[in-house]
């Protein structure tokens, strides 16, 4: 009996200790990236190149999903609100749910699976093919040259992508409710404008997306840099990036929401 239980407990303990080790390494790595990002900000061309790959190429998926999420919100919101005769409030529903929650969160989830996984795979493969080691041999710091530009590109592009997602969603809601169903256009915009506050809704959504950008790219670059230098290791790291950053986004979202909207109606 004991023969079977003891190795099981040992296994659990080993995993816990291993994950604490990884967390410590990840924190140290994050500090290192921040310390060495001075070079990448001075050579901004490197960041612009990564902005193209993480930001511009994510545009299509962000815009299209934003449009569809807004359209679905408009349809569902209309279905429910017209039971109470207040279908003119559908603009408020669409805008508030997008700006406060769905915009930052869904855009960050898409960003994690679209750009985060690519960053991990790229850095992991660079490590597997010993390109990072070769850079070290040439006295080029791989963290400053490879990791930091990708990190900053992700941090910069995330708030923009979230804002575009929200705008497209509001437009999608407008398209469905006003153009197709026939809710009054004036009340759609005016109810929205009187309910959405710049400081409490838009600025808080913006701050959220900045946090998500830092979390997703930090996880992505760490997983890539820490990946075992094998084909299997890189594929495992890519999976872990998507899983970990999705969980981090949702957890962070709860914490940030609790801080921002507590006591504010």
């Amino acid at each position: 009996m004991l023969k079977h239980i003891v190795p099981g407990i040992q296994n659990v303990g080993h995993r816990v200790i291993e994950s604490i080790w990884r967390l410590g390494r990840a924190s140290r790595f994050f500090i290192l990236v921040l310390l060495k990002s001075g070079t990448s900000l001075r050579r901004f061309n490197l960041v612009i190149r990564e902005l193209y790959f993480t930001g511009v190429l994510s545009l299509i998926i962000i815009v299209v999903s934003g449009l569809f999420v807004g359209m679905v919100l408009g349809l569902q919101g209309y279905e429910t609100l017209q039971k109470y005769g207040s279908e003119s409030a559908v603009g408020t529903l669409v805008a508030l749910s997008l700006v406060r929650e769905l915009g930052p969160v869904v855009a960050a989830l898409l960003f994690a699976s679209r750009a985060g996984s690519a960053i991990t795979a790229e850095i992991g493969l660079m490590k597997a093919t010993e390109q990072l080691a070769a850079m070290g041999m040439m006295a080029v710091d791989p963290i400053a040259r490879v990791v930091a530009p990708r990190f900053w590109a992700g941090v910069i592009s995330m708030p923009f992508l979230a804002a575009m997602f929200s705008v497209m969603g509001v437009f999608g809601g407008y398209l469905v409710t006003v153009v197709f169903i026939g809710v009054d256009e004036g009340s759609y915009w005016s109810q929205m404008q009187s309910a959405v506050d710049f400081r409490f809704d838009i600025l808080n959504g913006f701050i959220k997306s900045c946090f998500f950008g830092v979390a997703v790219t930090a996880i992505a670059v760490f997983e890539g840099y820490d990946a075992p230098p094998t084909a299997e290791g890189v594929s495992g790291a890519t999976t872990r990036t998507v899983v970990t950053s999705s969980l981090a986004i949702l957890g962070l979202d709860f914490i940030l929401t609790a801080f921002m909207f507590r006591g504010v109606s």
Partner: protein, 155 residues
């Protein structure tokens, strides 16, 4: 030159991002409606504020003229002290009447101002003397039942 086209796309991306933020703050939000930099603060004591919340609008004749910035409970008078930040374009006489009203049947509560006839205007830091509390449904029903009972007794 691969670099220049990439720069162009990134520039477009940043411009679209900033444009999206502008659209959010101007078209979706209400950034332009109310500018708190040009405002003056007045207070009013209410016996019962009902469901009034911070950030609720202060309206006169249906036009938003300010916002509730703070609600405190006073232990000197045992009533609620509501602080309002008013748009400095709109000045109100000293004997303005403030009451807590509800927009629609189940809508949010706001402060309605009805201007009085005094020559002197309310200045920053002044207190509105004439206030009317919020309607509380239970009190209203209670009063109605009480009146009804009194009516029945008289017959």
């Amino acid at each position: 030159m691969q670099r220049t086209t990439m720069d162009l796309w990134v520039g477009l991306f940043v411009i679209t991002g900033i444009a999206a933020l502008m659209v959010l703050s101007l078209k979706v939000g209400n950034l332009n409606v109310y500018n708190p930099s040009q405002s003056y603060v007045i207070t009013g004591n209410f016996e019962n504020i009902g469901g009034l919340k911070v950030r609720a609008p202060v309206k006169s004749a249906g036009v938003v003229v300010g916002r509730v910035t703070d609600i405190q409970f006073s232990t000197q008078t045992y009533d609620a002290v509501v602080t309002m930040s008013m748009d400095s374009r709109y000045l109100f006489p000293k004997d303005t009447f403030a009451s807590i009203l509800t927009s629609g049947l189940l809508g949010e509560q706001y402060i309605g101002l009805a201007a009085g006839g005094d020559e002197a205007m309310l200045k920053a830091g002044d207190k509105i003397m004439k206030t009317n509390s919020a309607m509380v449904l239970e009190e209203m029903i209670g009063r109605f039942l009480f009146d009804k009972a009194a009516e029945d007794d008289s017959f």
